[in-house]
Symmetry: C2
């Protein structure tokens, strides 16, 4: 047997249950705001899911609780796909997003923490649906599965394989001997950030609903807002700063916070990836500020720096919030933002994209390449934090970057069949696979993804999920030899 | 001593001499067409160069004729820079391109076989200058240095190091034990192609002048034309076909022609790179044709296929000729052309860009990456033509691709300071480093590079030369440890 189907079924049942339960807060929001038709839509979605989930979880008895890596990949891919499918039900049932392609896109964008929307007027949505939409960011941010891992041992299934297929970035430091303990620690940190940001936003004059929506969007590095003008709606330097701070914070490797909590402050500044992340961030803020000043884009130096900090933080962390229409910025600033869309935050953060650590290795490889041209017989290893990176990990990173770029090329060509201009098609692809949200041109920060045809919307939904799961997980399912282990891949 | 300065001086003297002599045919053209002021400009340029070149060659006596690799890199970089500087003199002296940045750009574009122009009206140029402009393509096509290598042994200097620093692509098969014999064979093939294409174009109704101009532009895969409408001026299916054929031909590894001449036809079809080159070419022609038909871009199927064949051949071979304004094509076709701008022809051809062999290895690496995810402990080597590629060569190819893309990113950001739209800035960079010529938007096939500021024009000139010399040669000169061998590069 190729896969442990029974164990997979049991886990999927559990995921359905989690999705159903996680809709309850949104139903409550509908109740509070007297949105009874929306509340009814939630109830109609939750009850069947809850029953099916419960049956699958309780009635399935796996012969073995041993999960192979293949099972892990299958579970992760199916689970995210299922979450995006089930999560889209309330949008369709309520009639606010009636078409499947649209609802699926919106939910995949939510769970993948992309934040790209097909809605032309977000403000027309009832609060219950707005809450659900942003709550998917929060769930997706740390990974629905890491959530599940924390519960899996209670079912007697080892969660390590699943985490391997899901976690973002090449290094997830094992903080605790047991995977489920690691997941719990990460979740506690995530919770603390959520609570602190919500409180800080309340201080900034937001009501509780808006505070939660924008906290979910920033700690999950998602980018959904309840306003058409995104964060620009509030026009408050304080709110800009709080959200910038939490976006940047959630772009840092979460295991580093554990070190900080345990007073190993030095670990933070010893971490090469963290240092490069901050360096890229500050350099881009400076370059963009200089360019905006040179072009007199804003009246004051203060505004220039404020918008530059917010937008750079938003793009590098793959959040995608906007306080201004950066598509109207001068070309130099836009070009920097465009290439930042390939970077992302640190590994094991809630951000998407290639991750800083891979960019760092890429630059070290270029440097080594130049050195080797001058000293062809030298043996030069690529070092990170003082230690040489093993050749197989360097090659895994190289492969990832090539695969990422290859998919961007192929995807951009596919998207361009809808015949929108080059920069729209290209930036839509780059933005979706990097889980950012806005791009340039017709998908700029003041626009949305409603322009695309339904096949392209569904394609982009898969792209967002593939980007969130670091490509291989979704891609492996498309590989014939995944389903037939005897058939080797020929290179 | 770091470099063998005396030997370098002697070779540079020889290069100056060659540039001076190679201006004679253009002077002759001026004489034939009664362009006396242009003829006078050529004479004023040739005489001082000839004298300086002769003195440097005859009076310099190297202590040693032994050239190290560093010397090779220095010679190649200086030589191409010098050629572009000296070659621009007639443009300035004649007053037709008075400004240095413009004249240098035009000449660097010529020698690097890019074909990008700052001229808004090519047809206003006298025939002598048009001839010189296209002749630089022809000289640059096979490499001024390969020319020199054939002469070097007469000076007692081994040319192997120079060829290594200059030749295009990762593999230059050594056909003959002596490098100078290889150079001669390649030049003979190049000559034969030049003569045959000129004759075929004469049959198509072109006069001798136009035939030569467009032969230089196609066998050198350059792209300069004597008409503002490029090849579209002739509006002849026969001429389109002849030029397409020779562009594609000169995108093939020249050492394969040697095999064909010696009746080893099978070698051609055993060559993996050749097969992929033809496959990419045909697939893109088909996809573009389907897209053009779907959008009713042309009235007839014949026209659709004709324009699609010509434009795809022109872009993949990095020539840049146009028979139609492809910037008006539907987005899908444009996106394919845009990404073709990263490919180029086969190694050891006259084309620029990354070269098919590197793209091929890139795809094999992606495939291996996916296989390794499924079988983490498997040992899978990357094979080419049935043989495993050594790890150091795979890593050299990876480094090259990363460096190439890194320079594209950095260059696009620099260019965008001039504040033209994203696709103009991006495609200008991609087109210049790939030695193609036209891009999209304001540098589209019906436009030119006159829009850019002088610093950006000079920057792009260096980009074109760096692209022609496969990046490392120019880049190494910027590396401190190149000049100070004791200082190692730290990775």
């Amino acid at each position: 047997m190729v896969l442990n189907y029974k164990a997979i079924t049991k886990i999927i049942g559990m995921i359905i249950l989690i999705i159903a339960i996680s809709m309850l807060p949104s139903a409550l929001v509908s109740l509070i705001y007297n949105e009874f038709s929306t509340l009814f839509a939630f109830i109609k979605s939750i009850i069947p899911m809850f029953i099916i989930g419960l049956i699958l979880t309780l009635k399935t008895r796996p012969d073995s609780t041993n999960l192979k890596m293949r099972d892990g990949f299958a579970i992760v891919a199916l689970c995210w796909l299922l979450a995006s499918l089930l999560g889209s039900v309330p949008f369709m049932v309520s009639g606010y997003i009636p078409r499947f392609a649209d609802a699926f896109f919106e939910t995949a964008s939510g769970f993948s923490t992309t934040g790209a929307s097909i809605l032309t007027n977000v403000e027309a949505l009832p609060k219950g649906l707005l809450f659900w939409r942003s709550f998917t960011h929060w769930l997706g941010g740390m990974g629905i599965l890491v959530f599940a891992i924390a519960l899996l041992p209670t079912l007697g299934i080892a969660g390590h394989r699943i985490a391997k297929a899901e976690t973002t970035g090449p290094t997830l430091g094992k903080l605790m001997p047991k995977m489920s303990d690691t997941a719990k620690i990460l979740y506690i940190i995530y919770m603390v950030f959520t609570i602190v940001e919500t409180i800080l936003l309340l201080f900034g004059g937001m009501d509780l609903f808006d505070s939660l929506i924008h906290t979910f969007g920033s700690v999950g590095t998602g980018g959904f807002s309840s306003y058409n003008d995104s964060i620009g709606h509030f026009n408050s330097a304080y709110i800009d700063f709080v959200i910038s701070f939490f976006m940047v914070l959630c772009g840092i490797n979460f295991t580093l916070f554990y070190c900080v909590v345990h007073k190993h402050y030095k670990d933070l500044f010893k971490d090469g990836e963290f240092k490069v992340y901050i360096t890229i961030l500050i350099s881009c803020i400076l370059l963009i500020s200089i360019n905006l000043l040179y072009n007199n884009t804003y009246d004051t130096l203060g505004d220039t720096i404020r918008y530059s900090i917010f937008q750079t933080s938003s793009i590098i962390t793959t959040t995608g919030y906007a306080t201004t229409d950066f598509d109207l910025w001068p070309s130099f600033s836009k070009m920097i933002l465009f290439f930042l869309m390939f970077v992302g935050g640190c590994s094991s953060s809630t951000t998407g994209c290639m991750k800083v650590i891979r960019i760092l290795v890429l630059f070290k490889l270029i440097k080594r390449g130049i050195a080797l041209r001058l000293h062809p017989h030298a043996v030069i290893s690529v070092k990170l934090d003082g230690k040489a990176i093993p050749a197989d990990r360097v090659s895994a990173i190289t492969n990832f970057i090539f695969l990422y770029l290859g998919i961007v090329v192929l995807g951009s060509i596919i998207i361009s069949w809808d015949n929108f201009d080059l920069i729209t098609s290209l930036s839509a692809m780059v933005s979706c696979i990097g889980n950012i949200g806005p791009g340039f041109g017709l998908v700029g920060p003041s626009m949305n993804y409603s322009i695309f045809s339904e096949p392209i919307k569904i394609f982009l939904s898969f792209v967002m999920l593939a980007g969130r799961l670091e490509l291989f997980t979704i891609l492996l399912l498309l590989t014939p030899s995944f389903w037939n282990p005897d058939k080797a891949i020929r290179v």
